[in-house]
């Protein structure tokens, strides 16, 4: 009997270690910030989706452009209608991988810095990006944060001369997600 139990434990441990563990969030927070002398513009979405596969190191993100909320309703309308053309390009997405996946142990408490490389698609334009993200694991909860800068012109987003002074050429983007283990069933 003892032997059976031991074997079971070994089997389960082996399974957990071998299985490609995937983590996800459906409430990823993406905010961006434009700072100019004239005005600051901020928008935030709380419904970005992301999946991280710790086995392959693959990391993906997607967010609906329409889910970004602004302080001013008119800004939000212009953002969708004039700048991002969200009915034509409804989503922004990131597809990439964590280069140093070996050092990121999401089952162990700690703070890990990840080297993230991949492609970012905004407004129908895809560009390579590489940045660093931080994973903080604390008693089972996994929080990932990342800051990056995106140049508006890189993604073919036209800004008319009238408001050129109101919108920063480079936006600061902040990403936060609380990852949970993805149960495949």
């Amino acid at each position: 009997m003892k032997q059976i139990i031991t074997t079971f434990i070994i089997a389960i441990v082996a399974m957990v270690n071998l299985q490609a563990q995937k983590y996800f969030s459906k409430t990823g927070e993406i905010s961006f910030f434009s700072a100019t002398a004239i005005e600051n513009i901020e928008a935030k979405s709380n419904s970005a989706t992301t999946v991280y596969d710790s086995d392959s190191g693959k990391l993906q993100w997607a967010v609906l452009i329409k889910s970004f909320e602004f302080e001013k309703a008119m800004m939000q309308e212009h953002f969708n209608e004039n700048y991002m053309e969200s009915s034509k390009y409804p989503k922004a997405q990131f597809k990439g991988e964590i280069k140093n996946k070996e050092v990121i142990k999401l089952s162990k408490d700690g703070s890990y810095t990840a080297q993230v490389n991949g492609t970012l698609e905004i407004h129908g334009v895809t560009k390579n990006v590489s940045t660093t993200a931080t994973f903080i694991v604390k008693s089972g909860s996994i929080t990932a944060t990342c800051n990056l800068k995106v140049a508006v012109a890189d993604y073919g987003i036209e800004i008319p001369s009238v408001v050129k002074e109101n919108i920063a050429k480079e936006l600061e983007i902040k990403v936060i997600a609380n990852y949970e283990v993805l149960d495949k069933s």
């Binding site: 996800f24 999946v51 086995d55 997405q93 109101n166 993805l182």
Partner: protein, 299 residues
């Protein structure tokens, strides 16, 4: 026993089974699109920006002023352009409405204005009942209700007869049904009832029924071509009054929307442009005019 397997063999089977499980899972999990694992996340996708402003030209559009936003509107209608050079094609005269619209919620707005034409004050409330959407919830149209009242404060035409204050009052009830067909084309129907407490002769109806039709075609991201026509059902107005027809452009620049148009109506409120338009397009009785809107986020 035929089905007896020894103890050790059993353990090995169990062990092998568990070790291969994850491998099977992995073979299936080799998708390129990791996000597909989360399933389709269907959300209600509301249609926005059916029109650029909350007026098509004179008619209310199905757009509402957003919650906590004050929209100051200054509207002009110059004289008839057939006034010729001596009147600088109508620019010597102007009929003005100054007003403000305010969004109490995203679906309910109120507005107030004062027109120079017959020194008229007007107030209205507009409620959005249905919002066009697709995705998780499909709604083909946006529908709203609008009610307004207007008080004409100009001196009574005949001061010798008994004049009641109520004779200055006009009421309007309107339904608005609109649809954004695609990025560029939006159409709207506006069945309207105008109630006039006092009319000049008994042949004129106190309650005037009409059907407004309006639409827009977007020319580029910031400009659209708008037009509207209001058909007044026959035998309600005195001879000489005409249906209102207007055509113009919406030009949007940051926080402003400029609406430049040509219309045969002098008044900018329903009781006026629906029941009191006299201009004949074919004779050149056309006003050039504009609405300028500037929004302020108040709260």
């Amino acid at each position: 026993m035929r089905y007896w397997i020894n103890h050790r063999a059993k353990l090995i089977i169990v062990f092998v089974f568990f070790c291969t499980l994850p491998t099977i899972g992995e073979a299936q999990g080799e998708e390129d699109d990791l996000l597909a694992l989360l399933g389709d996340q269907e959300v209600v996708d509301f249609t926005y920006a059916t029109f650029k402003a909350n007026r098509i030209i004179n008619l209310h559009s199905i757009e509402n002023t957003a919650n906590g936003v004050l929209d100051i509107k200054i509207s002009h209608r110059f004289g008839f352009i057939n006034g010729g050079f001596s009147e600088l094609f109508g620019l010597d005269q102007a009929s003005i409405r100054i007003g403000g619209d305010y969004g109490i919620t995203d679906r309910f707005m109120v507005g107030f204005g004062r027109s120079s034409f017959e020194k008229t004050y007007d107030g209205f409330a507009k409620l959005k009942l249905l919002r066009q959407s697709k995705g998780k919830r499909v709604m083909p149209i946006t529908a709203s209700l609008m009610a307004s009242a207007a008080i004409k404060t100009v001196e009574f035409q005949d001061p010798d007869r008994v004049n009641y204050f109520s004779s200055r009052m006009y009421y309007v009830f309107q339904g608005l049904i609109g649809r954004k067909f695609n990025e560029s084309i939006s159409l709207q129907l506006s069945p309207t009832l105008v109630h006039r407490n006092l009319v000049r002769t008994s042949t004129e109806a106190n309650d005037v029924l009409s059907l407004g039709i309006g639409g827009r075609v977007k020319l580029n991201k910031r400009t659209s071509l708008n037009s509207e026509y209001i058909y007044v059902l026959p035998n309600q107005l005195a001879p000489g009054y005409r249906n209102s027809f207007s055509i113009g452009f919406d030009i949007e620049t940051g926080g402003h929307v400029f609406q430049l148009h040509f219309t045969n109506s002098t008044s900018m409120i329903e009781k006026g442009f629906i029941t009191e338009s006299i201009g004949n397009w074919l004779d050149g009785d056309i006003h050039f005019g504009f609405n300028v809107s500037r929004v302020f986020t108040v709260r």
